[in-house]
Symmetry: C2
Subunit: 227 residues, 2 copies
DNA sequence: AAATGTATGTTGGAAATCCAACATGGAGGG
DNA sequence: CCCTCCATGTTGGATTTCCAACATACATTT
């Protein structure tokens, strides 16, 4: 556990809690460290949802099975990231998703109630953690809203432009690199890869943007590059 | 305000707070009651996001309008329901959505900071409210995920069926009433109203479902009606 | 009854997407 | 260098959606 103190300090859940207090907290929280392999389930769909997980090393992904039995990767979580918090906080009886290892690694598993229930004595940090949880979930909410805003556009071009503009805004520059290759971007935007490529070509020919692989530059934004 | 005590008791934000304590709380929170008409904005896009709203009567919906006049209904909120909490908790400067009345009604508007900042004295219920907020945001999170799951389908038919099945699941019956008219359902699913109507007609002719206005029955689910 | 308004269903042509297939071009290995 | 692999770009025809317009049904008002 000692090896993971640095990761935990970066974790939003422990934001504002001093390193030396962290140890006391961890004792109070009574978590356990679970090792996982690539492809191994940490939380299983239809299982209980009482626990929150923090990735300590390696990576996990949240996988959803839809009506047709197709699997969709909802999200990927890296060290310092949380998983399962929404389900535990919402108090669902059965998890609708599976959390599985993408690589071998370890995760800290904490019973949510140990975070939210104010304990008697020393660790006065429960409130802080609850507020941190609030912030994490609100941020996640916004992210989902933004994705909805993008994917609810009707045409490939509109979705692409909405995405690129949000990326430019995030990078505070009209030149930026996106974290997707073409196929992944198409999946994200809910469009065809070929239609996406075609649209990018069209926008390039129209002088709206320049692009090379995952590197994009939006033109005609009435500035040289910085936003 | 007194008239709405019953609604507030049902509100997840005040869960676990006794009726007589509610009055003291409300004083401490310093909310105001806003009346709204059908189509009137309660919160406007690009405006500040410091407030949380509770629907007291009538109904509101959270909408995103884009440049082309296409609109997406993110959600509809009935009496006792909250709106705006995620944006306030995340501390965004400008709201990315509009909240408007679906029918005439009233809403209680509370400054978020009055909920999260523990006050000096009497009202020891802030902790409880923060926990309630946590639960509400988690629930909204799940809901947004579900909506993404539905709208990320490619065809009108798939979106419609995914939606109807989720509604059936929620109602625990293959016969249920949806809270949208055709235009609103189209906006929710991000499709054309006419294409939606056509698809419903097709599904009806194929014997997949029966429908009359907002009342649907899914057939061929290997059961008489109850799920 | 007539007029009006609203919700839903239907239809036809324009436009966009989807899908499959192939073209291109760079990276890396033999 | 040649070859393969893989990401990306391109293209054409089948399919679907989009849009505008009109049809139908029902409720309300005058």
């Amino acid at each position: 556990m000692r090896d993971f103190i640095e990761v935990l300090q970066k974790c939003a859940l422990f934001d504002g809690i001093a390193p030396r207090d962290l140890n006391a907290m961890l004792g109070c929280l009574g978590g356990r460290v679970a090792a996982f392999e690539r492809g191994e389930s940490i939380f299983s769909a239809h299982g209980p949802a009482e626990d929150v997980g923090v990735v300590l090393s390696g990576a996990v992904q949240i996988v959803m099975d839809d009506f047709d039995g197709n699997r969709t990767i909802q999200d990927r979580v890296e060290p310092g990231g949380l998983f399962g918090e929404a389900f535990a906080c919402a108090g669902v009886e059965r998890l609708p998703v599976t959390v599985e290892g993408v690589t071998p690694g370890r995760a800290l598993i904490i019973r949510l109630i140990r975070i939210t229930a104010t304990c008697s004595s020393a660790c006065a940090f429960h409130n802080r953690m609850v507020m941190n949880l609030l912030r994490v979930m609100a941020a996640r909410n916004l992210q989902l809203s933004r994705k909805l805003e993008i994917t609810s556009r009707r045409t490939t071009r509109e979705k692409l432009m909405a995405y690129l503009m949000s990326q430019a805004q995030e990078a505070r520059s009209s030149r930026f690199t996106i974290p997707f290759d073409r196929q992944a971007l198409a999946d994200y935007l809910c469009v065809e890869r070929s239609a996406l490529s075609a649209e990018i070509g069209r926008l390039r020919r129209e002088g709206v943007l320049e692009s090379e692989r995952s590197r994009f530059t939006l033109l005609g934004l009435e500035n040289g590059g910085e936003l």
